[in-house]
Symmetry: C2
Subunit: 203 residues, 2 copies
């Protein structure tokens, strides 16, 4: 399980999409949210857009792995698709913030690989937020403040990348995934391999 966190505008969503395109072993966990769909967003791809009553029911029914409130809206990670993906041998990518990361870490420990993506500068972050053209001056201001606060949590991640060049950053994420797949504790079938290896009668 892989978490990709970053302040809004640092390129996390683009990175996630590109990663899913190039690595068929990775599935995206699509969050549920009570906030309104924005122009360009697709229900079921970017988020599952649900109402407050449905969100409450999911929380009560234990259907969410983690959830948090941000800017008056709630966001959560549905449990069932994650369990299905893991059961089928896929890695799961979470595009969530530090609050969700802390909760998943609590639930999954070191099974969770945490990557934080930093913007090259705050000016560049602001430029990227403005270039979306969807947010008011007030919203951009609050996003920038929230970005600074989100960045304050970089120390809670296993890997920290600076997204200066998107392709380079994508390659770094892929390298991390490939290396993590080689970790002993992620290759349980090695137990059998080693057992057969040393079972030779002569040694």
């Amino acid at each position: 399980m892989l978490v990709l966190s970053s302040p809004s505008g640092a390129g996390k969503t683009t990175l996630s999409r590109k990663l899913l395109e190039v690595d068929p072993g990775v599935e995206l966990s699509v969050s549920v949210t009570t906030r309104k769909q924005r122009p360009g967003e697709i229900d079921g791809r970017d988020y599952h857009f649900i109402d407050a009553a449905r969100f409450d029911a999911m929380v009560k029914g234990g259907e969410l792995l983690e959830w948090a409130q941000v800017f008056g809206h709630r966001y959560g990670t549905p449990r069932a698709p994650v369990e299905a993906a893991l059961a089928s041998g896929h890695d799961v990518l979470f595009d969530i913030d530090w609050q969700g990361t802390q909760q998943l870490r609590g639930a999954f420990g070191t099974d969770l690989v945490r990557i934080f993506v930093l913007p090259p500068s705050m000016q560049e972050l602001e430029r990227r937020l403005r270039s979306r053209g969807t947010d008011s001056e007030e919203v951009i201001d609050s996003r920038m403040r929230r970005a600074a606060s989100e960045i304050g949590h970089w120390g809670e991640y296993d890997y920290v990348l600076i997204n200066e060049d998107m392709d380079e950053c994508l390659q770094e994420v892929r390298t991390i995934i490939e290396a993590e797949r080689l970790r002993r504790d992620r290759r349980p079938y090695l137990f059998d391999f080693v057992r057969r290896l040393v079972e030779r009668p002569n040694y």
Copy 2:
């Protein structure tokens, strides 16, 4: 710091040499040993061949990071070259066994990345040992027994690779090194980067 361990014949030495060729950021720690130089070995490249008195003096003088006795001969890792390499920003590769790895782990904790290389099969391991043409039947027998015992320590390593194809295995080692360099705790300069990032007066 990177440890590459494997039973003799699993390809560790070839892997190490190839890695040094392709990655200029890596320096090899050359061990000292009291055993005799074998045909084809070069003093200062494969080992520093020293006598028992010199070895004793190094142990007493605290000049070895770790040492162990194997088949009646002693092997050790000189401290000074490792410290010099690390000070100059290089990664250090250790081509040592599980005993040395345990000692280095005790001294350096998670600064040490441990990779274990398994042979594809014991038959293949025996074939590789015989193809050297340097060892007697008795020595090959004892090497095979030692291999089985060495393999028993695979569970003490961070990464475990199967050396079926040398180029693939080398690529896996390189991927691990690249990913480990992206870990937050190996990028201390990020502290300054993040501090400057969020120091903007407006956020």
